[in-house]
């Protein structure tokens, strides 16, 4: 078990290192850092001096090492477009994205599991069919259209909810939250639903498929043969077995919610990291792009790690390092 944990951590670090390499390459080789900082008019001599100062003539490995060091200390360079420290930009916009992503993930998971179990148990029923068809449509549509659709319905026609921005936010330390004000909460509703939608359908289908498969297993058949009531079979035997693989995949989804937020933030002009990233792509703001990549990779890796370790806790078959049969 310890070996498994260590292996997972080692793999995680490897992935981070690889991503760091890509980020470094972007910083160093895409576009010209010197030109970006000095503009077109600078003289050759000035350029060479700056290059020397930035350490651009050192061996690559050294530069990479320096890069890692900088990153570890939280120094991600200066944004080409904004002229400010990237780390500042990130911190500023982090709360917006985190609130959005966390609420979406929770919504998607809870509702996804409930609907998934329901459509599996009541397979063939009318409501189950409606839910499945709606989910199919939902999955086919691009997220931004769903967002726009919601805006049209709730902001333009019904005028219940605001159509962009975070509303009023409250600053606590360096964090800003929208949960403490009515306008903040109202502004959260549509973006959260939009972002959650895709995840929700994914989780729902996954749970449903897993549940249907579990209901076909021998131990469920045996449980039926033992005369156990259907409710107990569904909610005790089948559900626990269903949720284990679901936890893995759902957990992985959590990680990607942060990245999926890119589109939702653009639709609702949500001042988060995703919107920052899109701007960076439009203006080829390399430092921001590379840092965002690192950030997302970090989130993924951490989430993956947690899920890996959680799996072991949940499945007793994995807990015993070696399976020792008795008798």
């Amino acid at each position: 078990m310890i070996a498994y944990a260590l292996r997972s951590v080692a793999q995680a670090l490897l992935v981070l290192l690889a991503v760091a390499l890509i980020a470094f390459s972007m910083f160093r080789f895409v576009g010209d850092p010197v030109a970006n900082m000095m503009g077109q008019e600078a003289s050759q001599a000035d350029r060479r001096a700056l290059a020397e100062q930035l350490g651009l003539n050192d061996p690559i490995l050294v530069q990479f090492g320096r890069f890692i060091g900088d990153v570890a200390q939280g120094d991600f360079g200066i944004s080409y477009r904004h002229g400010r420290k990237v780390s500042d930009l990130i911190l500023e916009r982090l709360p917006a994205t985190v609130e959005l992503a966390a609420l979406s993930a929770i919504l998607a998971t809870v509702v996804g599991i409930v609907l998934g179990v329901y459509t599996a148990i009541r397979r063939g029923g009318l409501l189950a069919h409606i839910i499945m068809t709606t989910s199919l449509v939902g999955v086919s549509l691009p997220t931004f259209l769903i967002g726009i659709g919601l805006i049209y319905l709730f902001a333009v026609e019904l005028r219940w909810l605001p159509s962009f921005g975070r509303g009023e936010t409250v600053k606590i330390g360096w964090w800003t939250t929208g949960l403490l004000t009515p306008s903040g909460r109202a502004s959260l509703i549509m973006p959260v639903v939009t972002l959650a939608f895709y995840q929700l359908t994914l989780i729902m289908r996954l749970v449903r498929a897993q549940m249907l498969e579990t209901l076909r297993t021998d131990y469920v058949k045996f449980a039926r043969a033992r005369g156990l009531p259907e409710s107990r079979i569904h909610f005790k035997h089948a559900l626990r077995n269903t949720l284990i693989p679901v936890v893995t995949i759902a957990g992985l989804q959590f990680g990607s919610v942060v990245a999926f937020a890119i589109v939702t933030e653009s639709v609702f002009q949500w001042p988060g990291l995703g919107a920052l990233f899109v701007q960076a792509v439009q203006f080829v703001d390399i430092p921001v792009m590379a840092t965002y990549l690192l950030f997302v990779a970090l989130v993924f890796v951490v989430v993956n790690l947690i899920v890996d370790l959680l799996y072991v806790v949940l499945d007793p078959r994995l807990r015993a390092g070696r399976i020792r049969p008795v008798g």
Partner: protein
């Protein structure tokens, strides 16, 4: 008691049989047509008796077992026939009432003990669960009883093993646990569907003996479904041979094995290797059993039967005989005896 008792009992002076199946027909609805899986299957099992049901894969043995315990799922359904448990009709019971019988009065053992047990729960929990659902018993008392049962089925140190997970036990151990789970409600009938097929050969004999002893000591009847004649020879009192959804021969084990009357049974007997047999090769019955959608008219076996006569091709033989032994073959009918 309810509906009419079975028309005939196996022995007129004996009490009502534990299980009585009368002209059971099961069919599966498919896109094109209904496929008949069981056709007019009838047999009895007396109290404390072990009936072996043999046949090739697809002959309908498992379907029979599933029908009795009420686990036939759509697109399958019982199209006609009656099933009686201790003289009470059970095939027409509503779902709730059948659930009370299932697991309590009729138990079922499946082929693969590893997949029969939920890997996430300890074996003790699963045994206790069965008891608390069916019996009016406290969890504490149920746990004591579970430990007793584990000891009875031959699991060493049951007080400790009771908290083990299924994957921590070997195949033979798991099947013993399954037997304990099935016996914990003291059922009147156990249906064992290929209970030893998934086990190592060395363990098979142990489980067979165990099952036989348990059945005798608890007075439980057993319907033993298997494709292995050897297992039947070891364990059963009577045997029913199934072919293409019908019973073709039924009778006491020793008689049927020593003097099989149906050509199919004869073929099967010729294919059991024994140390003392003279034959150099196993006699294999040529051809294969017809699929559900390709059953020939008349006797289903006639295409493979070395002694088929014209009548076999057009008319389906019915089970005839006395209380002890019956066979469905025109040739066995004394009036049609072939010289």
């Amino acid at each position: 008691m309810g509906s009419s008792a079975p028309e005939r009992s196996t022995r007129p002076d004996m009490p009502v049989p534990v299980l009585s199946v009368r002209k059971l027909n099961v069919a599966f609805a498919t896109r094109r047509a209904d496929l008949v899986a069981l056709e007019d299957v009838s047999f009895d099992i007396a109290r404390g008796e072990i009936l072996g049901v043999v046949g090739e894969s697809g002959a309908g043995k498992s379907v029979t077992g599933a029908a009795i315990i009420g686990l036939i799922e759509p697109p399958g359904r019982i199209t006609s026939g009656e099933i009686y448990l201790q003289g009470e009709r059970i095939d027409t019971l509503p779902l709730g009432a059948m659930r009370k019988i299932r697991g309590k009065r009729i138990g079922m053992v499946f082929q693969d003990p590893l997949t029969s047990l939920n890997p996430l729960f300890r074996i003790g929990e699963q045994i206790v669960e069965t008891m608390t659902v069916h019996l009016d018993i406290s969890p504490a008392r149920a746990r004591e009883r579970a430990i007793e049962l584990l000891g009875e089925v031959g699991i060493p140190a049951p007080e400790q093993r009771i908290d083990a997970y299924p994957h921590e036990l070997s195949g033979g151990m798991r099947q013993r646990v399954v037997l304990a789970m099935v016996l914990c409600t003291d059922p009147e009938l156990i249906i064992a569907d290929e209970p030893t097929t998934a086990l190592d050969v060395s363990v098979q004999a142990q489980i067979i003996t165990l099952l036989k002893n348990l059945a005798k000591s608890h007075g439980t009847s057993v319907m033993l479904i298997t494709h292995d004649m050897g297992v039947v020879a070891e364990m059963a009192d009577r045997v029913a041979v199934m072919y293409a959804g019908r019973i073709v021969e039924i009778g006491p084990v020793r008689d049927v094995l020593k003097q099989p009357r149906h050509p199919y049974t004869q073929g099967l007997m010729g294919s059991i290797p024994t140390l003392t047999s003279d034959a150099d090769r196993l006699v294999q019955i040529p051809g294969t059993m017809p699929r559900l959608d390709a059953r020939p008219p008349g006797c289903a076996f006639h295409p493979r039967c070395p002694r088929a006569i014209d009548r076999c091709r057009s008319e389906r033989p019915l089970l005839t005989g006395d209380d002890r032994a019956m066979v469905a073959c025109w040739l066995a009918d004394s009036r049609e005896a072939v010289s």
